[in-house]
């Protein structure tokens, strides 16, 4: 009888190994079809008509010229917006569907909007612009906390709005055929996509077919069907033809995702032993039209006895907020870790020593201390470390910076069917999605491990809502969810097979197990019958079992859990004569419980480091106050790091006792949290002054150096 519990270390054949992702070859060779690549016979192209104003009254929409353009087949207009206010540049007003992309673009340009401009507000960095009632959270007694402090340091810090900048923009292809809707969306949420059409179209959910085999990045911005999803379905219904609507780069950067900014004035009190006694933070920022949630400060150091956090939101006429890898944590980390590191420097305390000491104020002191030691060893901290600003006389200064982070990452509800066929073939069906993280590969590994088969023996079908439902891929919840549902299904299916085989071999199923492609007496590998022979005993039948992950139960059984800690150390060079910051090296030490695929887990961390270096050094959504437009909705001045910009990246995953035995935990969010903070601290260590706001562009570095009197 096979058990659901994860095998012990010595018994794992596939789990934890470094199997390359299944989607690698099809992506490299171009056979992988993303939503953008889906082309249906007789398909129309849809192009959006969006608001050119940051704030205006929409008086009327005239589609007559657009509709008369050769090739234009339909124009959809959001009639509810007419007479109402437009609140940001890029807000979707209408859509033109045409035979060709060119005609659709021309049509969209020819839709006439009559607008009455209203006052707009796009700045998000000035606390004076905040409105509404501030949030307030207090713990302990602030006055006592500062009175008992030996060093009190106050500073201002900030982190800009960035966008998700998915390489595959948002959008979908829709087709209505025989009263049924087929959708190929770029989504993180296959199972819960169809229901979002609600009453917008008169097609029942059981006639909506969602298919996402490959998708080019979401990072939290692709959970929703979005207005363009509904428009696509309506235009398909109206025209009877498939319609492709994919955002262009400009739209993608303006309206498809914003990570809110965070600016803060923070006062930190330290005892002379370096322990944080008080943190007082006033934080403000915005991500557009939505409500502002203050990022957690002090971040990670939840046991600081005396704290206050005041949050003030700024409403801007910019596109709305969407979840970005570990919502609010990168902001919390940057603001907290900068402030406490400045306090440590003022005390004259080494940063590593400081973080080791203050690990006591976190929820997992042992994990952080162990990770800090490992990270310090990998980067050679003790050989390279120096006091802040004490970095030699040449123009290029080198420095180190540390940050720590945490995340939950418990597996989401998930269901998976596993089928064992009488010819020995095995397949899984699951309504999950592979965002490029390796979900397919991991499901196949879990099932192969369970059935004692080689990894290649398992075929995984995912990305369709006709398969058993599985959660949205967000919050690092996928790996826990899909691993458990696949494991349970495979275990149940195997146990059915063992029963059949036991009858034929004249034994009982509790005496049998599967390993190395055979079914045999327990601990008698190599005996018994081959997998193929065993399956042939099913005769004309196959076995299909459904596995269900109920997160609470699975956590109790130790299959999954939540709560990780990670440490990152950055090594940077700052050219103080040009303000250019260069990455030398970055080390990430991360735990995520039991690791399904070591290579893919590490890949998640590498990707997070690259994304993190990007928002630390380059990336920023820049708006023009007067015109209200985004000035850099392109890949030219919306700067992303290239491979030569990221330096030497080193990843160390925590494994073994105390980690493996916690079950599976997600990895997508945590490593994306600390890069900004670690890099900002490294820059301060290198050049002796804090560059208060990310991204650490040369103009900000030079301004900070000039303010500090280091250059004229």
């Amino acid at each position: 009888m096979a058990k659901v519990a994860w095998p012990e270390k010595g018994d794992r054949k596939i789990l934890g190994s470094r199997i390359p992702r299944q989607d690698g070859p099809p992506k490299v060779t171009g056979t992988a079809k993303y939503s953008y690549d889906i082309n249906r016979p007789d398909m129309l192209w849809g192009k959006l008509v969006t608001s050119p104003n940051a704030h205006a009254e929409l008086i009327s929409v005239d589609t007559s010229v657009a509709a008369a353009i050769p090739g234009v087949k339909a124009v959809w207009v959001d009639e509810e917006l007419v007479g109402d206010e437009l609140r940001y540049v890029g807000q979707v007003i209408a859509c033109v569907a045409a035979d060709t992309e060119e005609a659709a673009i021309e049509g969209a340009e020819k839709v006439k909007l009559q607008l009455k401009a209203l006052e707009h507000q796009v700045a998000d960095d000035d606390v004076a612009l905040s409105s509404g009632r501030p949030s307030n959270k207090e713990q302990g007694n602030l006055d006592e906390g500062f009175a008992g402090a030996d060093v009190v340091v106050e500073g201002e810090y900030g982190i800009a709005v960035i966008t998700h900048c998915c390489l595959e923009p948002h959008g979908q292809v829709t087709e209505v055929k025989d009263g049924e809707l087929h959708v190929w969306p770029s989504t993180q949420n296959v199972s819960r996509y169809a229901n979002q059409f609600g009453d917008e179209i008169e097609i029942p959910q059981n006639k909506i077919h969602v298919d996402t085999q490959y998708m080019g990045g979401g990072f939290g911005s692709k959970f929703n069907i979005d207005k363009w999803g509904i428009i696509g379905a309506k235009l398909s219904q109206e025209t009877g033809r498939p319609v492709k609507i994919m955002l262009d780069r400009k739209e993608e950067l303006m309206i498809a995702g914003n990570r809110p900014s965070g600016f803060a004035k923070i006062k930190v009190g330290l005892q002379k032993d370096g322990l944080i006694s008080a943190v007082d933070a006033e934080v403000w920022g915005s991500g557009g039209q939505g409500a502002f949630r203050a990022p957690p400060i002090p971040y990670v150091f939840t046991k600081v006895p005396n704290t206050r956090l005041v949050g003030k939101g700024i409403r801007t006429n910019r596109g709305g907020v969407r979840a970005w890898r570990a919502p609010n944590h990168p902001q919390g980390a940057l603001l907290t870790m900068s402030a406490v590191d400045d306090a440590a420097a003022a005390l004259g305390m080494d940063s590593l020593e400081f973080f080791m000491k203050n690990a006591a104020l976190t929820d997992r002191p042992e994990v952080y201390r162990e990770e800090l030691q490992i990270a310090a060893n990998i980067i050679g901290y003790r050989q390279k470390a120096h006091a802040r600003g004490d970095s030699g006389s040449g123009p290029v200064k080198r420095g180190l910076g540390i940050s720590m982070h945490t995340w939950g990452g418990r597996g989401h509800p998930s269901e998976c069917d596993v089928t064992i066929n009488s010819d020995g073939s095995v397949e899984a069906k699951i309504g999950s999605q592979d965002l490029g993280t390796g979900t397919r590969t991991c499901i196949a590994m879990v099932i192969a491990e369970t059935l004692g088969l080689p990894y290649e023996a398992v075929t995984v079908h995912l990305g369709r809502n006709s398969y058993p439902q599985s959660g949205a891929s967000g919050g690092s919840t996928t790996i826990g969810g899909i691993s458990v549902s696949a494991r349970r299904a495979a275990t149940d299916a195997l146990n059915d097979l063992l029963k059949t085989v036991a009858g034929r071999l004249g034994t009982t199923d509790d005496k049998l197990e599967a390993s190395a492609g055979r079914i045999h007496q327990i601990e008698k590998a190599g005996g018994g019958v081959s997998w193929r022979e065993a399956c042939s005993m099913l005769g004309p039948n196959s076995i299909t079992k459904r596995g269900i992950n109920n997160p609470g139960e699975s956590q109790q059984e130790g299959l999954i859990s939540a709560g990780v800690g990670g440490v990152q150390i950055a090594d940077v060079s700052v050219d103080v004569e040009t303000g250019i910051v260069t990455m030398n090296e970055m080390v990430a030490v991360q735990d995520c419980g039991l690791i399904v695929n070591m290579k893919l887990a590490e890949s998640q961390v590498y990707g997070a480091l690259i994304m993190g270096i990007t928002y630390a050094l380059y990336e920023e959504s820049i708006y023009d106050s007067k015109t209200g437009i985004m000035l850099n909705p392109d890949m030219e001045f919306y700067r992303l790091a290239g491979i030569k910009d990221v330096g030497d990246l080193k990843v160390h995953m925590m494994t073994g006792k105390g980690y493996d035995d916690r079950g599976i935990i997600g990895i997508g969010e945590p490593p994306a949290i600390s890069p900004g903070a670690a890099i900002s601290n490294a820059v301060a260590n290198a050049c002796g002054v804090r560059v208060p706001s990310l991204p650490l562009t040369p103009e900000r570095v030079i301004a900070a150096l000039q303010k500090g009197g280091d250059i004229a």
């Binding site: 060119e102 004569e577 040009t578 007067k626 437009i629 030219e636 700067r639 040369p698 103009e699 030079i702």
Partner: protein, 325 residues
Amino acid sequence: MNPFEYVAPSDLREASSLLGSRWGQTEVLAGGTDLVTSLKQGITKPKRLVSLKNIPELKRIQVKKNTVRIGAMVTLRDLAANATIQEEFPALVTAIDGIGSSQIINAGTVAGDLCQRPRCWYFRNGFGLLAEDNGDSLVRTGDNRYHAIFGNDGRALFVNASSLAPALIALQAEISIVGAAGREREINAGDLFQAPNNGEDREVALRANEIVSEIKLPRENMQNASYEVRHRHGLDWPYATASVALKIRSGIAREASVVLGHVAPTPWPAVAASNLLNGARVDASLAEAVGEAAARGAKPLSGNAYKVQMVKTAVKRALLAAANA
């Protein structure tokens, strides 16, 4: 993108005759790395594109005794790979490397680099080259972090985007131009550029039907180098660049020329810096002083004072690199 007619004549004179007499009616297509994007963005809506790809003489590099003659359609890759250029004109090689994008270096041409349009984000977002709204400059009151710190008294506040121009000007290059009826003229490289003061002119001092045909680079044994302050290794625009060309005899600088890039609507000769350099002994402290001299007179806008520091550094480093070459 608007529909347009496409022609690819095999003769330069014919090419010129196919160009309109007013800017914007027609456009010259060389490598297309800037023009095609501009067409898509609606920055320009010509009725006709005149491709130069079928004119063989524009693709030649001729190394003569006293000059190197570089055809307008020579790709940046081919120029950087030329042995004489590598040997004698490292300032150009650095400038080409600095473009960062293999695609642009492979497809982009020498004359295309000189004639590319500015990257000003107001211009690229459709507010016109001078980026004015009811006579007010959007740049002055707006986000001008990437705009001009020199030559910004007039209406043009963008920076010239050419990578090669500062080095070519420092190296005293001349530019051949072919216009209507095949009329040829030759100008100093620096005279190719202008800061337009009205909505009609462009940032190149050409007539709309003129075509850059060739660059003549004198082989004067000048020591030369460029330094670019750039953030990313891949495709990125420099914040500021400097090119320096000079002769050094017994430690003393002669015939020196310092030209800045990405700091003004045109490539910007740093005359005071060149004067300070000429006749002086080249060492680290002189390099510092020359950098300071180059930055003097800068008039930063509200958000680009940081560029002054970059100019000092770029000049200092370019000079020291040229002196050590």
